[in-house]
Symmetry: C2
Subunit: 389 residues, 2 copies
């Protein structure tokens, strides 16, 4: 009798767990669908079908929507100049969430784009992720930029800059910020409710520097106005809108955007983020840590192997599935295997450890050479056009 | 009967005019007294009596109050390093209001101060005084800086910079702005009531750039922490308070300030300002204009010569008196002459035209040489200490 009770309790737990995971999947799918509709974005599906060699991010549906992608597609097709801008916050080393975005950027470079990578150490400092400009600057040169270079970007078509070492950018930011009102910036970013945590630099960053970064490729020094695109998370759509407004005021082409889904953190508690170190695999992690993080990761599987064999896992919400599908293996095959219960989490994690370890090992061997090449990638061109127009 | 009526009307007008001028004087005297008390400032009187060779601005009472002047006086006496920071907005050429301040700064240089002059073309643009950064930048180099140089500053101890050509300053501004909250900046500057006219750049300027300018001499590149002083109008006290706060957070010496009275505009409608061209005599005006502006100026005298001979004028509120007393003649003597009715406005204006014309003619002959020397005065030193600390 007692054993039967225990058994029924376990069954209840297993079923509740499964139901929760299905609910989570449903919620996530509708989140992106609703956002796409709400913001009036278009699906990237048509582009993915049409392009002879779409990016992994598009094939896996990580890149799920866009605004004005047509404007760069035309340049892509006609081999006209276009640019990608993809910045990041150097508060820690790159993780697989960054890798996913930068592989998309790399793909764009192979389609002909000039790549601009602002390493926003000012933002890291202003929002309180590091204690000083110098701390995030150090991380930028020692950890972030070498990893980006090691991913295979071309030095001729890649322009990396650390904001505080490229202060000409701030002149552009001053120039652009004049076209905005404070009220507009507040409204777009929802400031005002909690001004306590904000400082004058943050407002200037959001309503000036970030926009200058996005519009940078269109200044005279870089060949003038041209189509451009920014791959971003859906939460960063406000920047894009402000940047499109600012572009019109400067006589530039409004920048396009592709929207990418967040990569799920290994802890199952939200997107992969450096602020929760166990949620992310860093490209600089050692293999011991990789193994530990993957082994202890949350998954879309069931606590009961029997149940999972019968019902399958829920790959769409599984960080291990995402890790493998977005970065390594054939995603459709793995999804099939997981959904049908043909692969269980233990085996899947084992394969994940192997794939990630192999990638990371190779990546890390490239870092010392990458460090010697930083100078070839740095943007140093002075920006004088707005001071003499 | 009719003639008598007219006569009494004229008498009434003359008396009302005199009463208005006395009231204006009373109001002005109490304005500065009340401000001094309200803000807890000290009078500069003791310093003026103690110093063997006080500045003209102190002798005439134009410099009327100070905050923490003691901190630089000690350096002055012991021949230790100290600095003066005096910026200006290059939306037009220098006028006599600027001349007054820069002569005070020049006096400080002769007392041993290192002089820093930020030419804030970013502010001119952000607050809407010019249409572009390039417009105010052009005015800075073509009109403002040559006039400053022609006033006799030493190239060794004077550091002039146009903000948009010295963008390293913005790194300091980012650094400092993090120590402030938006709420504090709003409170100090009374923003929030009319945010419509504000933009993200203005907030950053007030809560970052302006403070960076004031603290600049204390960064490692310029010899590290030291006493410093800023001569300002009383309305700019908020900057000083914010700068003193920021200094403490950076481990610097809180900057001192001297407060100067506004020079009365020739139109009698407020302080001399480039935004009311007839209120100001520009150092680049031609002699025809000088004559015209002075001849048509508002004065502290009476519409009736008879009345003025009997009662005297009201020099304290007279822009012509200020122009002559602050810049040229012996102020006590002129005040005496005017108050006792021994000099009338026509004669006084005639002498003013002569004095101003002589000064301006000499100043203008120096401008073409000054233009060739700009490079000797420009601050170009990169600021790297905060990026590598």
């Amino acid at each position: 009798m007692k054993e039967q009770n225990q058994q029924s309790t376990i069954t209840e737990i297993v079923e509740r767990d499964y139901k929760e995971k299905l609910d989570k999947r449903k919620k996530e799918i509708s989140y992106y669908q609703e956002k796409t509709e709400e913001l009036g974005l278009k699906s990237t599906k048509r582009f993915t079908e049409y392009h002879p060699d779409p990016s992994k991010s598009m094939l896996t549906g990580v890149t799920f929507a866009h605004r004005d992608l047509e404007s760069v597609v035309e340049s892509m097709a006609n081999r006209q100049p276009w640019a990608v801008i993809s910045g990041l916050n150097p508060s820690g080393p790159l993780h697989f969430g960054h890798k996913q975005i930068f592989e998309e950027v790399l793909w764009m470079q192979k389609q002909g784009a000039e790549v601009f990578i602002p390493v926003t150490n000012d933002e890291s400092y202003l929002v309180g992720k590091v204690k000083s400009l110098s701390e995030s600057r150090k991380t930028a040169y020692e950890k972030v930029i070498p990893s980006i270079i090691a991913m295979g970007f071309s030095p001729e078509k890649t322009h990396i800059f650390v904001n505080s070492d490229y202060p000409d950018l701030y002149n552009l930011a001053i120039d652009i910020s004049k076209h905005l009102t404070l009220n507009k910036v507040y409204k777009v970013f929802g400031f005002g409710e909690n001004e306590e945590g904000e400082n004058p630099g943050t407002i200037f960053y959001r309503g000036g520097v970030q926009l200058a970064q996005i519009l940078l490729p269109q200044y005279e020094e870089f060949g003038g106005k041209k189509p451009s695109i920014v791959p971003v998370g859906i939460d960063q759509y406000p920047y894009i809108l402000l940047a499109r407004d600012a572009a019109l005021k400067k006589g530039f082409v409004p920048p396009a955007a592709t929207f990418v889904k967040f990569e799920e953190g290994l802890d199952g508690k939200g997107k992969m983020s450096a602020s929760r170190p166990n949620s992310a695999i860093f490209l600089t992690d050692d293999l011991e840590n990789v193994k530990r993080k993957i082994k202890s990761a949350y998954t879309g599987g069931s606590p009961s192997a029997t149940f999972q064999k019968e019902h399958g896992g829920v790959p769409e919400i599984c960080p291990i599935y995402q890790l493998r599908a977005y970065h390594f293996t054939n995603n459709n095959e793995l999804k099939e295997q997981c959904s049908t219960g043909n692969i269980l989490c233990g085996e899947c994690k084992k394969q994940a450890v192997e794939e990630v370890s192999e990638y990371i090992t190779e990546h890390q061997t490239k870092l010392s050479i990458a460090k010697t090449k930083i100078n070839d990638y740095l943007l140093k061109k002075p920006i004088k056009s707005i001071l003499t127009e």
